[in-house]
């Protein structure tokens, strides 16, 4: 690890003075008493515990609910940086929707020779039942999260697109609530852009894609797999904040040709279903027959214009890691513009030359499963033991098409508030994007995830990552 190039710290210059974005915050921070701040950090944890903002960890029955560690030092981005970022995000999200429309219709991108057809038709995330169908308003990905990493003053790269059911937005909102509760004085001196309109915008955005069968004010519901799902808190939180019902499969039945939920007054049709359930479980008649979480027959009604499903089934193909490496081409193909946000360099192990390179340089690279998520099943070369490297070499040789590889990035750091004081840790950023037929709405900020262990590059909460409040501040 000692060979890694020095990382860009977002708060401090090399000489220890604060960068422009952090000038006001740093001044405030240096005036604080550290015992007082330690108390605040404990208060913040207590605040999360009391409000029940918890997260369930898979395969951990002893502690079913956990808190995601929260760090009190915010991530700060200037308005100027944000303007550029949001233009890049908007461009990318437009391209993703155009791409989805295309691959489920004429597949011009394949005809133009810009994307191998195998990547679509042999891909589990490709949902053949979507072919020839256009969702209401032409929107495929109503809610998107774009994972960004930073490597320098102006270098933001897209690490991953989340086009299925991105999670974490409740933490964006609750982190801000917590910070305003803990440090109100900061918000009266520093002008931080507001994030709290997200639930309202989400509701409005979903209402604008009501299906043809909807006659009045659209009825929106959130579909959750249930209380044991790791993101259940978020499902309940968003439903509550939007003023929508939180339903499970067994609350729903098809009544008079509509998908309807059992209320105290009888069955009421749902117009827009924000589902937090994977495609595979959505309709046992079409996908996994053993699924008890979904709604048998919903897909037919969807195609018949009786209900809108958000995000549309089959959007997962757009965040597939094998497709990821084609994103620069995809952006250019559909927007006619150069991508504003760059991808991380990616080797597709399915290609023999790339595979050879990856095998030769395994100890320097990060290798990811094409269909993996949540930081599971990945190899971080520089941190891996000889044994782990050997095991991964065997996996790569056996199923090369299952993997992509990327250079180990010098991810930017932001200090966390540790016992010993400020300590730099690696971070990423997930801004949240809402897509409706007439506009794309990006909440200023997003979710900053931070690897709490020194030197670690894995920020996933399932792997011991924490979060920070993320600020976009007005330029003075």
């Amino acid at each position: 690890m000692a060979t890694r190039p020095p990382c860009f710290d977002e708060m401090l210059n090399e000489d220890g003075t604060p960068r422009a974005a952090y000038a006001a915050y740093h001044k405030w921070f240096s005036e604080q008493d550290s015992t007082h701040l330690k108390q605040k950090a404990r208060d913040a944890e207590e605040f999360f515990r009391r409000t029940g903002i918890t997260f369930a960890v898979y395969g951990d029955d002893e502690a079913e609910e956990r808190l995601i560690p929260f760090d009190i030092i915010p991530r700060i981005v200037t308005a100027r940086q944000w303007t550029k970022l949001s233009r890049g995000i908007e461009q990318r999200v437009r391209a993703i929707n155009a791409f989805l429309q295309d691959i489920y219709h004429r597949q011009e991108i394949v005809r133009a020779g810009r994307l191998p057809v195998d990547l679509l038709v042999k891909n589990d995330a490709f949902v053949a039942q979507m072919i020839g169908f256009t969702p209401p308003g032409g929107v495929y990905t109503h809610i998107v999260g774009i994972d960004l990493v930073r490597t320098g003053p102006d270098e933001f790269l897209v690490l991953e697109d989340n086009a299925r059911t991105p999670s974490g937005v409740s933490y964006m909102l609750e982190n801000r609530e917590t910070m305003m509760n803990m440090f109100p004085e900061l918000f009266s001196t520093i002008r931080v852009r507001n994030v709290s309109d997200y639930p309202k915008n989400l509701r409005a955005s979903l209402s604008r894609v009501a299906p043809p069968a909807c006659t009045g004010d659209p009825v929106v519901a959130v579909l959750t797999p249930g209380i044991h799902n790791s993101a259940y808190f978020e499902h309940a939180f968003l439903a509550d904040q939007m003023g929508a019902e939180l339903v499970e499969g067994h609350d729903i039945r098809i009544v008079n040709g509509r998908v309807a939920m059992r209320t105290t007054r009888g069955y009421q049709p749902i117009d827009v279903l924000y589902r937090r359930l994977d495609d595979d479980y959505l309709d046992p008649l079409i996908f996994k027959p053993e699924s008890v979480l979904g709604i048998p027959g919903i897909f037919d009604l969807y195609r018949a214009g009786k209900i809108t499903i958000a995000n549309a089934p089959g959007t997962g193909i757009a965040d597939d890691k094998a497709i990821y490496s084609y994103m620069p081409d995809i952006v250019e193909f559909y927007t006619g513009e150069k991508p504003i946000l760059k991808n991380v360099d990616t080797w597709r192990c399915s290609e023999p030359d790339s595979l050879a390179y990856v095998l030769d340089h395994l100890s320097e690279l990060v290798v990811k499963e094409v269909h993996g998520s949540g930081g599971y099943g990945m190899l971080i070369g520089p941190a891996a033991s000889k044994k782990e490297l050997a095991a991964f070499t065997a996996k790569l040789k056996a199923k090369p098409a299952n993997y992509i590889a990327q250079p180990t990035l010098a991810l930017s750091t932001i200090p966390i508030f540790a016992n010993s004081g400020l300590a730099p840790r690696h971070v990423d950023l997930r801004p949240f994007v809402l897509v409706s037929p007439d506009k794309i709405d990006i909440t200023p900020g997003g979710l900053t995830r931070v690897a709490l262990r020194k030197g670690s590059l894995v920020v996933n909460s399932s792997q011991g990552g924490g979060t920070k409040d993320s600020w976009v501040i007005e330029d003075d």
Binding site: T51, I227, A239, E245, L246, T263, T264
Partner: protein, 313 residues
């Protein structure tokens, strides 16, 4: 509102009411072990009976010693209806009904769960028992406070109240039934004075002790106590009071939904029945029979509400 949500809120407040009831019974039982020399074992046994837990308790325990019974009621894993589980279930229900309850109510339930869990991690030593019971009672009161102060008076609120008063009526009737022999006419008619300990237990475990003494200074008669606990509409745990509230809340529900409600009609019928009764007529016709009959009606009403508002199907 989803049927499932209505059910969740209804049961959340049944669980909380039941937990409070257990806490109060423990408090009473414990007081007796401190102030009376005789009847200790019997007292714990009748508390278990009033909660319908006596047979289950005996399956795993040989004797009725205070520490064991208290632990059984609070946290013993062999008792699925222990207080800790009730609070856990209430909180679980609050999680699943987040969309229908206020943030304040959710936070109060969550905090109650956190505190009670902390307090009941280990067996509660006798020295800590009063403080622990006190903590439980304060926490559940905060939940009620949050409900009253922040909830819209909508269907969710009414379902919470219906659950609350059905549970309260049930537990009052069961407690009375366990002690009914104390109030038997034969005992008082032959002129023997009421057993002080027994009536004190009943009054204390229903939080009625002080109120009753103010209303009936110096007199503890079977008639007076039966009248107070069953028919007095000023006393918030009496059966008549519970049914007054039940008719109110069921009427609000029926009106806001604009429906003809069978459960309302049934609750009104039961409530009207109290008006035509006197304590003397109840005792004459047989207190036990009255209570068995009442418990069955109360259960039936709960089932009607569940069905009418589509809790499960």
């Amino acid at each position: 509102m989803l049927g499932k949500t209505a059910s969740g809120i209804f049961w959340m407040f049944r669980y909380l009411e039941r937990a409070e009831n257990i806490a109060r019974l423990i408090e009473t039982g414990h007081r007796f072990t401190l102030t009376r020399n005789r009847g200790r074992q019997d007292e714990w046994r009748s508390i278990l009976s009033a909660l319908g837990m006596d047979a289950a308790y005996r399956a795993n325990h040989d004797e009725y010693n205070a520490a064991q019974v208290v632990d059984y009621l609070l946290r013993d894993k062999t008792n699925p209806g222990n207080l800790r589980n009730l609070i856990d279930s209430a909180r679980q229900n609050a999680r699943t009904t987040r969309t229908a309850i206020t943030r304040e109510l959710w936070e109060a339930v969550n905090e109650c769960w956190i505190c009670v869990n902390d307090a009941l991690k280990r067996q509660v030593r006798e020295a800590e028992l009063p403080a622990t019971i006190d903590l439980i009672e304060r926490q559940t009161s905060q939940v009620r406070g949050a409900l009253e102060n922040t909830m819209l008076r909508n269907d969710g609120y009414n379902f919470s109240r219906v659950g609350n008063f059905i549970e309260r009526a049930d537990s009052m009737a069961r407690l009375l039934d366990v002690k009914y022999y104390v109030l038997l006419p034969s005992v008082s008619f032959v002129g023997s004075s009421l057993d002080n300990i027994q009536w004190e237990t009943i009054l204390r475990s229903t939080s009625a002790y002080s109120a009753y003494r103010w209303l009936y200074p110096g007199r503890a008669s079977a008639l007076g106590i039966a009248d107070f606990l069953i028919l007095d509409r000023r006393f918030p745990r009496s059966l008549a009071f519970c049914y007054g509230k039940l008719t109110d809340n069921l009427r609000h529900l029926a009106m806001s939904y604009g429906v003809q409600s069978d459960s309302l009609t049934e609750a009104e019928r039961i409530y009207a029945g109290f008006a035509s009764m006197t304590a003397a007529s109840i005792l004459e016709d047989g207190l036990h029979e009255f209570l068995v009959d009442f418990l069955a009606q109360n259960r039936r009403l709960a089932a009607m509400v569940e069905q009418e508002y589509r809790f499960n199907s």
